[in-house]
């Protein structure tokens, strides 16, 4: 899986394990530009992009890593985690980073015209990431909250509200 996305560079570990958890591949940390990754969709039977993956460049040791690139709202909803503010007791849903990195890589490919379908959730607007109150917050944290908010209602109502708010601004 992806461990980091630094600008347009993807970072991951070449990892094949045996049944005892011993590393059978080279185990090296790998880096590649997003343009080296390939969106693959073998069968597009229902016209939704279901089954798509992102193939990372094959390692010299022969191992090949693939990222899931067809999350639906229910799958993301099931992976949400709750974070509670100790002072107020308020609880928010956040999407773990490992899913965010997949969505981010998927978006990067889609914006380059290299993915047939966009991820199920939109990326946060640049304006949101640049707001002063988020200056001391890592962009990944903002994204965890952003995607958590959108995925918290798997019926898609949060997405509809977002689209309505966007169209009103226009």
């Amino acid at each position: 899986m992806l461990h980091a996305i630094d600008h347009e560079m993807l970072h991951w570990q070449c990892l094949i394990l045996d049944r005892k958890g011993r590393v059978k591949s080279c185990g090296q940390w790998k880096t590649a530009h997003i343009d080296e990754a390939e969106y693959q969709l073998l069968h597009d039977e229902d016209g939704t992009g279901r089954g798509a993956v992102i193939a990372l460049p094959r390692c010299e040791c022969g191992a090949h890593c693939f990222l899931k690139a067809d999350y639906d709202l229910e799958e993301l909803y099931d992976e949400l985690q709750e974070v509670t503010d100790e002072e107020t007791g308020a609880t928010v849903a956040v999407l773990p980073y490992r899913y965010i990195r997949n969505l981010q890589a998927h978006w990067m490919l889609y914006e380059r015209g290299k993915a047939d379908y966009a991820p199920v959730l939109p990326m946060p607007p640049i304006a949101l990431l640049e707001r002063p109150e988020f200056a001391s917050v890592k962009p990944a944290t903002v994204m965890a909250l952003w995607f958590g908010y959108l995925a918290a209602r798997p019926d898609g109502t949060a997405l509809k509200e977002l689209e309505e708010a966007s169209s009103e601004r226009l």
């Binding site: 094949i16 073998l42 040791c61 899931k68 990195r101």
Partner: protein, 91 residues
């Protein structure tokens, strides 16, 4: 039901053996995962047990909480097309 936690992995083997009736004939093998409910973020595969013989390098598709599909295609009309190895699912 086993459900892999965050950061967990699942490992196993796959083996694809086919008669490639023509070049580019596809063969897929669905591998059910042991873990359920948790959705993987990715998967890795190798050809350590049987190097790809008359088939393309295997690839993943349709990764879900229930398993995944390993896919390959014959590179010639042949009665000897095979590939096998290990896979690791990352959660």
């Amino acid at each position: 039901v086993l459900s892999q936690p965050s950061g967990g992995t699942e490992t196993g083997k796959y083996y694809i053996l086919q008669d490639g009736y023509t070049t580019a004939a596809q063969t897929s093998m669905y591998v059910p995962s042991i873990s359920r409910t948790s959705v993987p973020v990715g998967a890795s595969i190798d050809t350590a047990d049987v190097a790809a013989t008359n088939v393309s390098a295997p690839s993943f598709t349709a990764i879900t909480a229930n398993g995944f599909l390993v896919n390959t295609a014959s590179t010639a009309a042949t009665t000897n097309a095979r590939v096998a190895g290990n896979y690791t699912l990352s959660y």
